[in-house]
Symmetry: C2
Subunit: 349 residues, 2 copies
């Protein structure tokens, strides 16, 4: 089959990869309908994380092509949405809602590589969720968004205890930040302050439910959020960047006793000053989103057309043009790139 | 009046200080019955924090001697317990339960100095809570504990979401850690793992409700907690030290999705690695305890003799011997020192 590998930073190639097969009885092989490029894929692309001929991609929707003998909740032909974390969904950690840290868990990224025609998904029952039927084509982008960016933004909003009457600030206007805005709106936030310096992202944030836009960053950004919240800071802050600056901005924008949901992938060297955190008296929670916890609810909202997170994709390319998709995101010409998988390539594999 | 000042690190003196008076109409002057020395008082004593002829003490119980015209909930003669944070208890932050970050708030430490015969307490209605009547003398130590160490340990347990069925680990066997054990017991924890290397503190921890003692620290301590919790880590971890090592031990002892309540005062230079925190997927909350939130409940528990936190005081001295109290705690000869205020000194002031 055809699949994307990153040979080295900035070097994306679509190559022939071995067809995935059932190995464990709990596996499923999924024929990918659509996949996409994640903001986190840009870290190795920019040389910030190591990469060496790595199969890329961890977001995916598609059709179950084959299942192992132990798979019970899925059948061949089901249309499925998968999480970027493999989970058995039965261990104590999964049952507590943290499928992203399943005791049998692993990350799809870097190993399976779903920017490809097919993927072997371990613990299929615990990782994949079938849609109620075959989706209309216009639902595909939204279902694909549920696989990571929507699930991640939603987790951030839940971690930030967003709810009715709350003032919410969102640090980061990438796909996840924008999904955080959408989630905040759905969860009933009264005020949603999107921090963004890009007109196109501001427009999308407004469409998803932002009530205020703050263009300034750092101390000025913190001051602007405080001014919009009676001088107290936001009740809930969603952090969707992962840098030191963004984390500090989130901490300083939150009122004492408030909540930060942080999902920007923190990298080595980012450190939080414990004394500032201590006296800020905020709640801090985040990490890799347990998307599987939210998938049934998110699929239902999409299926009933109550939310349209697929709008976050502003570039759609065939899988074979993945390199252009990476470049467009790296140069910020695109917020997020959807890759359609060409059925016709099947005959090649 | 007589009062304790720390002239310089290690230099404690009881001196004549000016008698406090009503300044604002919301003030009360309290005649101190008992006060104590806090673990945090040892930071300047050891030269870790700056100190320069500073009036010491922020824990106190006593009798209202005078009130300002605007004070409504207290009358002269009331026996009161005060928090170490001044709070109006009416601002939006106080109403949300964070009286330690009241918009009109300030710390008692370093300014008022309750290791003295009297103290002026601003925002008396919002800071002090009257007991149901004049307490029996044997209740004084427990009521005094509520002023800080019990309230702080209790807050840590609440922040760590301690509750029925939970496995709780407590990092730190000082007075606050021991009060965390007591709080965890009261809040219904199933398993309470106290981390302590001192036999006397272990005994007290057992008395307060600890089910397990872990003597090792660092990686070995983390491994021991995991072994006691099905390899998963504790649901709830109380951090009551404030060092880098203790914070990392707390993070690593918590299961994914679990909660850390941290109340050890973090000092400059302590930094949390954001990447480790991210992938640990724990909830982190703490800071200066909003003791005022819990005071009515804690006073009630003490008054009904359901808890006996006063046992944490293992040394009692007259105010004039404060220097010996500091030394005993510094040398770990005492867990916590209670200072009784000599009524007879009144005539001197």
């Amino acid at each position: 089959m055809r699949g994307v590998v990153m040979n080295a930073p900035g070097d994306i190639e679509v190559v022939e990869r071995e067809d995935p097969m059932i190995i464990e009885p709990t596996d499923a092989v999924v024929r990918i309908t659509a996949t996409c490029i994640c903001g986190s894929d840009l870290w190795p692309y920019r040389g910030v994380e190591p990469v060496d001929h790595t199969p890329m991609g961890h977001e995916y929707v598609g059709v179950v092509e084959e299942i192992g003998d132990a798979v019970q909740t899925l059948k061949v032909g089901d249309f499925v949405v998968g999480s970027f974390c493999i989970s058995d969904n039965t261990c104590p950690i999964c049952r507590a809602g943290y499928q992203s840290r399943c005791v049998h868990g692993s990350f799809v990224a870097g190993t399976i590589g779903t920017q490809a025609e097919k993927a072997r998904i371990p613990y299929a029952d615990g990782t994949l969720v079938a849609t109620p039927g075959q989706p209309d084509p216009e639902l595909i982008p939204s279902l694909l968004a549920a696989s990571d960016v929507l699930g991640t933004g939603w987790f951030a909003a839940v971690a930030a205890e967003v709810g009715p009457g709350k003032a919410v600030a969102v640090v980061g206007d990438g796909a996840v930040g924008l999904m955080g805005v959408l989630a905040a709106k759905q969860l009933g936030a009264e005020q949603i302050i999107a921090m963004s310096r890009h007109a196109d992202r501001q427009a999308l944030a407004r469409e998803f439910g932002a009530t205020d836009i703050v263009e300034v960053r750092g101390d000025a950004g913190v001051a602007a959020v405080r001014e919009l919240t009676d001088g107290l800071g936001a009740h809930s802050v969603i952090e969707a960047v992962g840098t030191q600056e963004a984390m500090l901005q989130a901490i300083r924008s939150t009122r004492p006793g408030g909540y930060i949901g942080y999902v920007g992938v923190a990298h080595e060297g980012v450190a939080l000053p414990a004394d500032e955190l201590f006296f800020s008296e905020v709640h801090l929670h985040g990490g890799p989103a347990p998307v599987r916890r939210f998938l049934p609810e998110l699929i239902d909202l999409i299926w009933r057309r109550e939310i349209d997170p697929g709008k976050v994709f502003d570039l759609s390319l065939p899988l074979e043009q993945a390199a252009e998709g990476y470049q467009a995101m790296d140069e910020r010409r695109a917020i997020k790139t959807l890759l359609t998988v060409q059925e016709t390539r099947e005959s090649v594999s």
